[in-house]
Symmetry: C3
Amino acid sequence: MTSSTNMRLRLPLLCIILEVILIILFGTLVEYNDDTHAMLWNENRTDSATRNDHENEFYYRYPSFQDVHVMIFVGFGFLMTFLQRYGFSSVGFNFLIAAFSLQWATLMQGFFHGLHHGKIHVGVTSMINADFCTGSVLISFGAVLGKTSPVQLLVMAIFEVTLFAVNEFILLSILGINDAGGSMTIHTFGAYFGLMVTRVLYRPNLDKSKHRNSSVYHSDLFAMIGTIYLWMFWPSFNSAITNYGDPQHRTAMNTYYSLAACTLATFAFSALVNPEGKLDMVHIQNAALAGGVAVGTAGEMMLTAFGAMIVGFLAGTISVLGYKYLTPVLESKLKIQDTCGIHNLHGMPGVLGAVVGAVTAALASPDVYGHGLQRVFADVETGKWNPQSRGGFQAISLAVTLGMALFGGLITGFILKLPIYGAPPDTHCFEDGLYWEVPGEEEGHQELYEVATSNEVEKLSS
Amino acid sequence: MTSSTNMRLRLPLLCIILEVILIILFGTLVEYNDDTHAMLWNENRTDSATRNDHENEFYYRYPSFQDVHVMIFVGFGFLMTFLQRYGFSSVGFNFLIAAFSLQWATLMQGFFHGLHHGKIHVGVTSMINADFCTGSVLISFGAVLGKTSPVQLLVMAIFEVTLFAVNEFILLSILGINDAGGSMTIHTFGAYFGLMVTRVLYRPNLDKSKHRNSSVYHSDLFAMIGTIYLWMFWPSFNSAITNYGDPQHRTAMNTYYSLAACTLATFAFSALVNPEGKLDMVHIQNAALAGGVAVGTAGEMMLTAFGAMIVGFLAGTISVLGYKYLTPVLESKLKIQDTCGIHNLHGMPGVLGAVVGAVTAALASPDVYGHGLQRVFADVETGKWNPQSRGGFQAISLAVTLGMALFGGLITGFILKLPIYGAPPDTHCFEDGLYWEVPGEEEGHQELYEVATSNEVEKLSS
Amino acid sequence: MTSSTNMRLRLPLLCIILEVILIILFGTLVEYNDDTHAMLWNENRTDSATRNDHENEFYYRYPSFQDVHVMIFVGFGFLMTFLQRYGFSSVGFNFLIAAFSLQWATLMQGFFHGLHHGKIHVGVTSMINADFCTGSVLISFGAVLGKTSPVQLLVMAIFEVTLFAVNEFILLSILGINDAGGSMTIHTFGAYFGLMVTRVLYRPNLDKSKHRNSSVYHSDLFAMIGTIYLWMFWPSFNSAITNYGDPQHRTAMNTYYSLAACTLATFAFSALVNPEGKLDMVHIQNAALAGGVAVGTAGEMMLTAFGAMIVGFLAGTISVLGYKYLTPVLESKLKIQDTCGIHNLHGMPGVLGAVVGAVTAALASPDVYGHGLQRVFADVETGKWNPQSRGGFQAISLAVTLGMALFGGLITGFILKLPIYGAPPDTHCFEDGLYWEVPGEEEGHQELYEVATSNEVEKLSS
């Protein structure tokens, strides 16, 4: 049997080659940083301790890292299990591309963000940054969910991680802007990259699989596991790499309030746009998270709980309205088939977050921040700080990010269009059976299912 | 179609009005506290750091906060998914009322627990306290689960949060008692408030929905997600707002051992009360948690692991026996329809916890606590400390809490009885389809289900 | 009805007796340690603080403890829910034996690892160690899953915990070796102990239950919850009891990279060994974790991310190959019925981890570790340190562990063979209905199921 979607050689080959390359590059380029290296951390500690262990960045950042890690693997993974026959792929491919991306991101980000005598230094902060970059890839995954092979997804990750690192470098190192929670670097970038990829991969006959492009009762509950974990840990996400002390504390709290307000907006508008006033799981699962996205840039600033709640409320509102009114138009007019509606969860709220960040940065002043100003805005110490120009740079960064994402997605989309990756046929999208050994639903049904599937696969491969 | 349960206007209106009020009140009343404010935290830090960032309360409390947050949203949310057709509402309404309550609680608790020049100061400790108050509302939700509309639940939350803050103020600020894990303030209050509400909302014809008032195989597994998360993170819950150092450490450990002993009691008595010796998921899902409730007051004291295990064992025992023998009597004799059996999980174990707390406080002495005495009992520093009177105040607090809860629940129940909230009819309790767009169970079954449901809804709305 | 599997007396009696014994022993033997005791922690603190609260071990270890706790109760519990009709038992019995084992382990480990004036001192480190020991029992549970009664499992836990503590004492206290993440003490020991138990309990007619010894679609998704939590928190597991500072930081990071590389190997070989190139959930759920096991010993050493990735890649590879080619042989030739394939996830990767640890220890030198050497290898301070002999002791420890595990499993297996524990008959293995009140799958099906089950049970009990 030589099915066009058979992964027997393609997937193992790609995985093994990638991992071997990663291992070689790690062997030649990666070193422990000062806080993870046995010699460097204990350098000045002869008999009396000159450095206290609790000052190791591990204790400031590791709890946040683990929360982010849960968001990447459980949050994104289960959020996408809402499809009735695509749970294995949602959690499984999420797992695969995240495991690859975090390694590749360590190298790419390390390369762009500053080598130390030709070496990349790693520690818990680089682990968080690698997970962040991975999050961007998983956002794009949401747009093409159900319509791509695992090989395509890995190839997409190779390019997206690379471009993510370039864009992040331009924003953070060249333009020197703030984006601790990644409204731009992670969400806007990941969303518009993914939307462009799915645009290029447009399938005119996707309605042949539309009976599988929906949820069942239990799959919606699995998806809620993802939603709730993303929602709960978003305060850790936005605050994970801010400065120690008040910025980290403040960011977590701003995000907490933004999300709470966003949730009320989501329920309100979900009921309002439904003729019978019924709530839609798609909205609850997704739009309730938009509040976290929208304070990703301004969260570390003196936004106040009040400001955060306004932003969160707006984000939830535009997200629900996007799902209801914009997504169908994007599909019918612009031929953008966005399986998870990432434009509504990450795209628009990401842009909103960038704008809010620009405004909040432009309004910053020593009267409000006191000596804390330089701990939020890095260029205060250099004496070159100017709030209006800071706000301007924040806005420019949004434009750069959109440009990089759309251009990168375009190129990557065409690369993924090559007929060599074993993509699913239009008749078998949103179907685990193509790439997974799938058991039946229940004892009695199993036999029937297997007969049905094997018939389908036979047809497909002949 | 003008169904009496249609939420199209009621729910959006209520959500939007509430959120707008919240935003206005936050804008006028809420400020960053010393540890989240850029200026205040960095006040004395000119060029040399006079305050170390690791002393920011964030690093002492944030990991506990996140554990509590998981309990509130995943723990409570999934614990209630055991019903076969009420999973969306269990997780979803839990999400909605928690997101509202934590905002409202920030204001109410901030108002009662001390304004700073007319302002409410917020930080990670206020976030934990807001989540705690939310927990109390979710406990009450368990009593009325399946029989209330989301609008009713929000209205209940408005009143319950307010009264919770009043009761908490009386106990902690006026009576000056200890209740770090909330045996009284959270569990006893939430349970008896909810029981009184469900008593007032008594439905004589609820058996018309009894075929849905039970679990199916998978729904019980989803519920176990809730149970296990509550169980694991309860040590963080009880210790989250205790004093730094030994009290926080000791509380977590006492809770750990109490829960372990409780679990063995639960399995033992669950098998014992079943004629065939079979375990009952209702007991395992709920009674195994009673050990956490029962050390909510004494956990921070020198209870010892030994004491904690005895308390946990007792709590598990009375909880299982309550489910088996008391719940049916409460329903048939007292007309209390307690969907989740909160009387067994939070009510009786909460009272037990209050009593254990009173006794342990009365037995406290400097011989055992040394200089640590004043870090557990706040009035030691004032010189007015007297263990017997402390024990007495603890006992008085239980009576106050019971009174506040029952009276508050009574009033709230009558308010919720008004026929304006779109409550479900007796024939459609425990049914997601009333308030949610519900997909079918499986491809084949979906069509059938939709026909059946639409027939039911037509009958209902005509 | 007097079914041979009726637990009505056996299980309650055993649970209550065990818990009473535990409570008595805790009452006579267990004390708060210096960091949890109100007097001891505040000893030198009269008016000015001489000890800072952030130095309490709680703040260094508690976040790791909670992650480990999640692995034990959610990770192991849900990993085993893959069976179609054994979800209640998987999560439930996991819960029961873990709750017992952590109490028993506190006593056994406390007894062997050093009494303080005849008392066992407890705190967060002892809680982590107790959870670790519990993990070992749960690994063994995986081998006998579906074929044992809860009473058998508790009896197994009594013996296994005891032997675990003896073995751990020999390795850590007598031989003085390193094994922070327990490649030997936890994984190798738990795996070979469990394999020997299941060998002794060999059931020649187990194929009478083989229709239940497989997954269904949803049960595989529940199992993925377990997998992902184990995977995410493994860095916390391996680093939980290492020294503060660089060792803890480094261990977490090494584990992170090992697991990422392992995941790519798992996907690669899972597709490669399948004729149609389809991925197998059994591999993804289990083999992807082998990378965490395999760096359990060397993780705290200067293994480097490079080294960790090689080890992880190897571990994933041998684990998948083990599932595909070795497990069937073990069952047919050696009569080892290993339900979860613990030999592939914990056995072989544990041995690999021991070997990697021995080699890495033998290669250690002050040139690489600097002053950090003595913080990894305890005997450096005594002046007796010698890397080659350290490596040798590490290798000897593996042999000791294998011997203890196989011998202990043999004895325990024969004890569990006694016909007094209510073990399931060959026709009813992998079936929740024997020990649990089980609801139906769906409203319509429930009735049918109950009729079918009651027929089966009648046949069984007659």
